[in-house]
């Protein structure tokens, strides 16, 4: 099954990358940009056909490795 994990850095944590991109966008004349946050997406292909079970596994992966609880929140989406 295809699973998409979206990992968002929590808004109270600085995002130097987003900040740099915003500056670059302003430099290019996109002055209408008010905020930029860079996050990551991890696309997984998992063996198994029980969506509930697959989700449980992926949440476990997130808690163990894929997301850092000090900085990030995650969301798991089963794409099928």
């Amino acid at each position: 099954m295809k699973v998409r994990v979206t990992i968002d850095r929590r808004s109270e944590i600085a995002d130097p990358e987003g900040h740099t991109v915003m500056r670059a966008l302003h430099d290019l004349g996109f002055e209408d940009v008010q905020e930029v946050r860079m996050n990551r997406v991890i696309d997984l292909e998992i063996a198994g056909d029980d969506p509930g079970e697959v989700r449980r596994r992926v949440v476990e992966m997130c808690e163990k490795l894929l997301a850092n609880p000090v900085l990030e929140d995650f969301e798991v989406e089963i794409l099928g």
Partner: protein, 217 residues
């Protein structure tokens, strides 16, 4: 006085650390990350580099390596544990030090000498330094920007000027007990005047002194 120097796939400062600690009378030994037993070592160093290519988040995969179990036990029993650069990142990811390290403020890798001040001499790394002592040590990192949302970290060495956005200008951070320390600049690279500075020796000497005081696991 045996000290384990952990080697992860992608570590690259392990030989430099061995060389610098060796000249100070310690007996450093390289230990592969799959090792689960650190019996007989007085302490451990996690050296710099790019463990697992910094995939996902710097230090994240290494923090789950088998060797981190005995490292954790050493830390809990009060033995000296030092993380340099990537090693600092690994200790944070492993939850053994507070906070996390994110990309430098200016989003560029920084390799140059920086001035730092020792602000806390009560740790295994700073035991031989004077409070307020200024040191010139190379910084070498892309993710050297320490953030600590819970504000529980104990800052022991501070940048004189802020090179990377690090919270409280922290260059080194310790756990409450002071036996686990992570430092972003590389003391082993400031171990010979021919290379530009030997200011890092006072830190490594402090660490070696702590090893001496520590009974092997």
């Amino acid at each position: 006085m045996r000290v384990a120097v952990a080697v992860f796939p992608g570590s690259n400062c392990e030989h430099d650390v061995v060389r610098a600690l060796g000249t100070l009378g310690a007996e450093p030994e390289l230990v592969w990350h799959r090792e689960t037993d650190l019996e007989g070592f007085n302490g451990v160093v996690l050296p710099g580099g790019f463990a697992h290519g910094d995939a996902l988040r710097t230090g994240a995969i290494a923090a789950l390596s088998p060797i981190m179990e005995p490292v954790r036990r050493m830390a809990e029993s009060g033995k000296p544990v030092l993380g340099i650069c990537n090693g600092f990142q690994i200790l944070c990811e492993a939850g053994m030090l507070p906070g996390a390290l994110i990309a430098n403020r200016d989003l560029a890798f920084i390799c140059r000498f920086v001035e730092v001040e020792v602000v806390d001499t009560g740790t295994v790394l700073t035991a031989a330094a004077e409070p307020g002592q200024m040191l010139r040590i190379p910084l070498n990192s892309y993710e050297g920007n320490w953030v600590d949302p819970a504000r529980t970290g104990r800052v022991v060495v501070r940048y004189a000027d802020d090179p990377n956005g690090s919270q409280d200008r922290a260059a080194a951070v310790a756990n409450e007990a002071g036996n686990v320390v992570g430092i972003m600049p590389h003391p082993e690279r400031a171990s010979d005047p021919l290379l530009g500075s030997d200011d890092g020796l006072v830190l490594l000497e402090g660490f070696v002194r702590s090893l001496r005081a520590s009974v092997p696991a």
